[in-house]
Symmetry: D2
């Protein structure tokens, strides 16, 4: 069970770390300050400067070959293992726009995985290639406002067959990235046969973002912020027609696609969360050493020693668990990795949230402001406790796996 | 130690509760949706509709005599005790704009208290009267970006005597309410004699918001939101002249004023936090009973029974502690109440944050969106862990009080 | 809602506190060191010195009129309210044998309450009078080894009618106090009609400890200790005959008796737990001020300030909640008090356990040894998380009460 | 960073696991029930049956070559790595007497390590050989009653030179295993030069348990239990003479010896704690599936799913951290492993305590009784939060290591 960095990935990690720290981080703040400055007043349009920052960084990354290394199980990528990629994801998690710079950002990586694994040649030509080049972006439309989407069998947006096409009607929300003007593709889960067995009711569709009948109603706010220009959009489908050939893998196989998509993506999310926890602990320590109150350094006040020690221990443990989940996926496959992924899906965001919260507290009110990246980390991490399944659902899976050991596998 | 509702306050509470639920709550959401819709594009200007909502509700409240009952120790108010007012604060905490509707909102109540206790007749005429009428608003400028302001002796904005005036230079931030176009008065703490004993270094000034040399640099963001039009502003003073008569109480007595201001205000904050916790628990229960997943109601899944029970127990305990702090203040005075206030300043926001967090989780992603008041509650409550002293400082006070019992009062 | 000490109870509290501190505490340690020194080698026989200590202290208490003040709702006692008694219970909780010295110890108080409320004149004459005098002791036999007794409808020891008597067969365990050589009475719950409605299946019997067919199998160990000479005994009933007149209140009314018994007793337990938490915090502070390591006092190391502050806050809150439960019982009766009692039954032991645990840690290994009362407090408090219903059952009650608010009382 | 089981250790683990489960576990309970049955009444003498159980199991283990595999860095043992041994320690932790059966029990393993690393040939001949054979046992005398021994520079038992010998005076306590009648050797830390630099004040001595002037005062109780016949003894030294040749390594080098002794031993303790946590979780699950209340299996009540899931996640993480600490020790040495060992010293006992506590709760009162191994696990694990340094000291080390990253190594 080798959870360490391999020799071949070590120089890649070093390059990525360097670029994140010295080239991306300084521009990340400027990028975010640009939000809302488009002359139109539309927060979901990017300014020239924003595009310039992103495009030049992406060009640099591509030039250096630091591009698309998330494709862990494919000839198209670096052929990295999930464990190897995990270390890279940690580095990319430390700064907001870093993942996109290396074309490794969610939800595009998961979406590309869908196209790579389940797409036809036509799908790959039309959507995968420009995504792999970083020319367009994509969104994944799953969650709905009117049902408890944590139980995906509740998904209710309907797709009704009409000749050689499907007609979709209903609402999706929390479509992350769908606000981005570059977002060209939606991958959409819809109920094609509500009377079928609960895991065969749904199908997955590829739909151009500008298809007729699609209306972006509003950005969902995350603790009051709209995450522009990326966004998490509420989208309405009114008689949207999708040709049969854009139904992925086959009718009634939406669940299969959704499951296949989720495994590695959750590990990536978790490792980026570890990266944020590390960054937050660094900021905490530096602030605690750099400010004074009541005649002492902050680090010597209150419970700060214990807070720092607990953060260090919890980060180490959460990282090791993520690496183990990655290793199980590499060596035993996605199915065997499921309960491990459920574990890290609970643990990694909670751990990172706790560290970030303590770091904010040590910073005083500055910690929750735009002057430090902590608040943005926190709100993002908080969304991870819902994304790809809320904690309660994952805990349930872990418990069932445990109890099954003592029930001859039944439960 | 009577911590219950008195007979005289019970009907008041009932009136306030009714008005909050049936008249204010429905408009509160509309009020917040109006933010940013001023034709100028300036988020810190209020739309006509916003002003209409606020003014009509305020007029109604005033008409019914539900006005200024925060003035707990004065002939000008209702003559309520702090315990009595605490129950009212709980009700007003449940909806965002409610406190202002009854002219009981922070920081104005604390500022009015300063004027009432320490102001001259001229100060009262000029500032207190319009504040009591709800015609203007005010801000309190204490915290600074460059020092650990949790130790108030660090406050560094300078005031230098020049003839019969003082000249102020420096930065303040997190001036809550200073973004509001109706905000006319700043109460400002400045260092008038840095070489004096640490509790005599500072003085408190009354300064018109439009005084020359004052520049509002930017709104501080709270988890990405600007809290417009209220705001928490970063303000720069450049050679701002303040006449000697607007120095409150006397040179070097800034600490005394600050201390006197804080006691009741912290209790009000805490009781409003209890109100938010109650509201969040109500929303949690309703959602848990109203949605289904995996063939069960949410309430029957996961640890929701325990979560609800723990929330109930923790809210009850936190409320009782707040009421006890209020009772100590009523019966033994501000000084005796200090360690009790430190206790609730730690406990009430933490308790409420935990309940709100659980409520958000039960709501799924909707819980952190603009569709429910939970996210706004959470970010507001999170700021309370800094406002008027961070948790660590209050815990320190509580521990010292405890240890002093065994050290002949020395420590 | 007056939760304070009344004027009439204040001098009583002062007398009890004084006696506990100056007269009982010094002998308590000697009493416990005597355990196991009976010449017979039988740990469940008391030495002469043990009896001398107990009897002389009891005589003193009785002489001073500090006796039986637990009888909160009766002409036989002081006529104290539950709130008044709660403060006394807190003081008596601070030292192991104190409650017995004032004839206020569990399970005798609960048992006396059963006799007082539900007993016949004959029962009172035979059992209540000597118990009120402190001449004998009693046990309450409820829990059984083979069923989840947290659901009392599971209780399975059988009582079968045979002429004008009942014949009992089965096992009971955790019969606290049944090891005491002075224990003369068992109050026993048995299933008299397993086919009846679940709340009418059981009846309550009064049985002399020396009845034929009763066998004390063994003391149950609490974390390895046998709590001699008091003990928690495992007892077997083999064809034990009980005359009809010793069935309390009526056939099938065992539940009613059990419920009536529990209310005040749980409040007493909880307030004694608060007393232990206070004692532990005192010991913690003194140790933290009295020892040095790494050149500092322990109090200035680690997170001790925060630990002390948190302990103080949590004790205050738990106490207030207990007092509120007592007040509800006094003013609205046992039924209304149920959800409040469930709340404190969870909160008070957990709070006290946490404080005691921290106190042990500050004491180093001494803290878990016989040299300090902390370990005994801890193991005793840990049993309270089972006694009279485990935490999970009480949390369930609290949650159901909460949810019922939003379901028209149904659930 | 290979943290997995190696191929060579896998069959060893299987053999140990089998023997623990099928041969040792059934006798373990009988062994413990025998405590106190020696005809003399002396709980610290072993009955014939106890010796028979131990000796026959030990003979079997030795015969199968399952012996002394703790010697991780020596030709005398199996040459296992620390990681390899860690997995074995986990298995041995699951049953009370298992470690001794394989001659891998504390404190003997640490003591043998001292003799192996720092002892002279004479020391090895006299003490190491019989220890390696399992013929005698040994104790390690460090902690003292009158000083905060968490700071080892406080150690105060004096050794004064007198000719070619040293004369020792003072008290030691918590000498684990010193109650065992087979305990023949004490390794004792004493202050030989109180005026020297704080890390050169002490020396380490080898002293026969029956040396003149040694008096075993009493067993220290652990939550009321005396842990007979092993025990944790309070021992007094009165003019005990030790020849110069039994001072280990050199005068003033006691710290060096103590440090060298601690590393692997702490890892072993922690991995045994993980074994206990696993055992407790197994018991919890089985009980939760096997009992019913309120018409449901316990597993379907309360928060049991979450409790089980959290236990699984926390055990996995704690184990991985222990394995990483072991791996650092194997690959980078004891010094580099120190902060990692501090981390697991905090984490492993806390994790295991939490799981055991939850398991006890699910068992009802049975969980804290002699009928299940949980209570003994709990009290043992609780002592680990003091043994080899309390949590606070280890957290301090972890925090200092962290802060040093940002202070050019100074702190």
């Amino acid at each position: 069970m080798d959870l360490g960095m391999t020799e071949r990935v070590r120089p890649l990690i070093e390059q990525v770390r360097q670029m994140v720290e010295t080239e991306i981080a300084p521009l990340d703040r400027e990028y975010h300050e640009e939000v809302g400055r488009h002359p139109s007043g539309d927060r979901f349009r990017m300014t020239d400067r924003q595009l310039e920052i992103l495009n030049s960084l992406k060009a640099t990354a591509k030039e250096r070959g630091l591009w698309n290394f998330w494709l862990t199980d494919s000839e198209k990528g670096f052929g990295l293992t999930t464990v190897e990629y995990a270390y890279l994801a940690e580095e990319m998690g430390k700064v907001g726009i870093a993942a996109e710079v290396f074309n490794c950002n969610a939800p595009d990586t998961g979406n590309m995985e869908v196209l790579e694994r389940y797409g036809t040649e036509a799908h790959k030509e039309k959507w995968l290639k420009p995504l792999l080049r970083g020319d367009i972006r994509s969104a994944y439309l799953m969650t709905e406002p009117d049902v408890a989407s944590s139980d995906a069998t509740n998904i209710a947006l309907t797709a009704v067959r009409d000749g050689d096409a499907w007609v979709l009607n209903g609402d999706k929300w929390w479509a992350t990235g769908a606000g981005d003007p570059r977002c060209a593709l939606y991958i959409v889960m819809a109920a094609t046969d509500p009377d079928a067995h609960k895991h065969s009711r749904h199908s997955m569709f590829l739909i151009p973002a500008d298809a007729e009948g699609i209306e972006v109603l509003r950005p969902m706010h995350v603790f009051g912020a709209d995450d522009a220009p990326h966004g998490h959009m509420h989208i309405r489908f009114t008689n949207v027609r999708v040709p049969q050939e854009d139904l992925v893998l086959g009718e009634g196989r939406g669940f299969e696609v959704a499951q296949g998509r989720l495994g590695p993506g959750r590990i990536h999310h978790c490792m980026r969360a570890i990266g944020q926890a590390e960054k937050a602990l660094e900021l905490l320590c530096k602030r605690a050493m750099g400010r004074e109150a009541f005649g002492k350094k902050l680090m010597d006040l209150g419970a700060n020693y214990d807070i720092i020690a607990n953060a260090r221990m919890e980060i180490e443990m959460a990282r090791l668990l993520c690496l183990k989940a990655a290793w199980v996926m590499d060596t035993q496959g996605t199915r065997a990795a499921q309960p491990w992924i459920s574990q890290i899906k609970v643990v990694a965001p909670l751990t990172a949230l706790k560290v970030v919260d303590e770091a904010m507290q040590v910073h005083g009110a500055a910690g929750i402001s735009q002057d430090f990246p902590l608040a943005a980390m926190w709100t993002h991490l908080r969304t991870l406790r819902f994304a790809d399944g809320p904690d309660a659902v994952h805990r349930r899976q872990v418990a069932r796996t445990e109890l099954r050991k003592y029930s001859n596998g039944k439960l």
